[in-house]
Symmetry: C2
Subunit: 354 residues, 2 copies
Amino acid sequence: MKKNILIIPGDGIGQEVTTWGKKVLEAIADKYNHDFIFDEAIMGHTAIEAKGNPLPDETLEKAKASDAILFGAIGHAKYDNDPTAKVRPEQGLLKIRKELGLYANLRPILLFDELLDASSLKPEVLRGTDILFFRELTGDVYFGEKKRSEDNNFASDLMNYHRYEVERIARKAFDAARTRRKKLCSVDKANVLETSRLWREVVQEIAKEYPDVETEHMFIDNAAMQLIKNPQKFDVVLTANLFGDILTDEASQIAGSMGMLASASIGDSTGFFEPIHGSAHDIAGHNKANPLASILSAALLLDIAFGLQEEAKAVTNAVAEALKDGWRTGDIANASTPADKILGTKEMGEKVLA
Amino acid sequence: MKKNILIIPGDGIGQEVTTWGKKVLEAIADKYNHDFIFDEAIMGHTAIEAKGNPLPDETLEKAKASDAILFGAIGHAKYDNDPTAKVRPEQGLLKIRKELGLYANLRPILLFDELLDASSLKPEVLRGTDILFFRELTGDVYFGEKKRSEDNNFASDLMNYHRYEVERIARKAFDAARTRRKKLCSVDKANVLETSRLWREVVQEIAKEYPDVETEHMFIDNAAMQLIKNPQKFDVVLTANLFGDILTDEASQIAGSMGMLASASIGDSTGFFEPIHGSAHDIAGHNKANPLASILSAALLLDIAFGLQEEAKAVTNAVAEALKDGWRTGDIANASTPADKILGTKEMGEKVLA
Ligand SMILES: CC(C)[C@H](C(=O)O)[C@@H](O)C(=O)O
Ligand SMILES: CC(C)[C@H](C(=O)O)[C@@H](O)C(=O)O
């Protein structure tokens, strides 16, 4: 198979971790005789520094021309602490999601048995958990009109949804539920928000097309609680953009660490694969970041963008092997991990490659 | 001390649990020689059934005339599953919050050592946790303009904040931090939302008036994760209305159960005290609900509305005693709780009274 893959390392630890996602893709190409052609592009803080633009035209063109994109992370504390900054790294990420029509963000909460102890949750609460989030990614309060009054005393963001936006993500989520345990939980705040009422109405309608899927509606506040109280009872979870952002970060504690979670953004064209973690500038460049989320993003890329299930499985197995052999990065180590089993980014990457 | 207390049981288990909150207030009046005069009023589903209005004028008048309000719970599944319902129980709660100017919702995450094992989180993660949430309660996307297009294909809610709304809740939170561990964490999504950028700007300004308080800003997604990863590191947490709704329900798992958490809503006039749990119609009327959140709400009422610290402490101690003696309601029991230690609402209420 011949494919063009664009690597966008982005900011902070994005640089280090995508190195290993890419190396794993190269190893797969080698072993399974594929022809993966790599290109690289800039985005975020890195691109603001270089070009004054968080998403340069050249990056967007390359993205559109590629068959799949492996992305690292975005953001920098410099902008976070300056609420008046006009240009921000995150604008690059939001714009590329919109431009590529990446309306469905899949976030599988994959629990490796070896990491049951790395979580702040009790192992008996976690055991057997297997959740797949479908987060809507190009609508909601993220993209609605933003206003600031002249006198700086008032600000607003428009939360909004169109019916077709809810329909298309709901269908994707129901389709996935069908191939899994046939349970779907749709999250909203329909007791307060009009957008949530539209959301629930549409999901109820689509649910009729999937009578074999057991559908549940849950308020976001309750979901934030149930997710850590009874994670095992969730299968597919369907959410709007903002609620999905919050719940999936929370759910990362189920997998032991944000450093373990990969995501796939799909929609109208090129798929976009990235860890759910941020740029973590505090540890960037120190060979401390966990490369597994990027490596697992590469596995999602193989599976979802190229339909290479066997190759994807090989990557996930290699990660499981490394964990089974006791290797850990700092974020997934615990008090009983022997010091000589704690690895840096590079060394963990090499274990998986091996 | 002579005071007028209005009891609003509301819906579902609200009826049962406020009975015990009230009984505890009566016992305190008796013991400490206060003159508490009780009145009762309806709200929510109960009021819709009786008067077609979730907040009848009479209830609002009684509320304004009282010195403090003890509220139960609100909501009914009937409306939840009908996204097109025009009248909803929750409108009553939102309206009374707005009418009474209850802009600050205090939610203490009080951890009883006896309940360390009731949580899905590991005891070593929980131990020593003591968080006080300040949730803004009369602004945000809860009260912004709601729209639905004629053709039903589009819906929106305006998320918005005025500077003064952020200022007044921030001051209350900083004041409280000063009397505690002097740490404040303000939660927002300033990398995406304009309202969050205004929020952060204002909190940064107010923080200058409190140089002795260590201030931190955290994105909501990260906060949802950190809260269960490292709950001990939080002291005062300051949030907008929607983010606070989500985080405090999540944080209820720290205290073992939603059935343990009380809240105080304060502002311009009469204080309003309520459990953070909902109406739980599935168990309503079965003598199963945990009355402790309502009893602890009564303690908050004594403390915050009437300045009766000693009396409040007596109530909290009585709850701690009952737990120390091994008594549990179903929601805070675990596999190792002996069956004869598991009580109903009434029996648990009686243990605390004793
Ligand atoms: C960086 C930020 C804009 C982004 C989001 O909120 O979508 C991130 O948190 C994520 O989840 O991908
Ligand atoms: C019932 C609902 C409107 C309410 C809210 O969202 O504020 C509840 O969840 C709460 O937290 O008090």
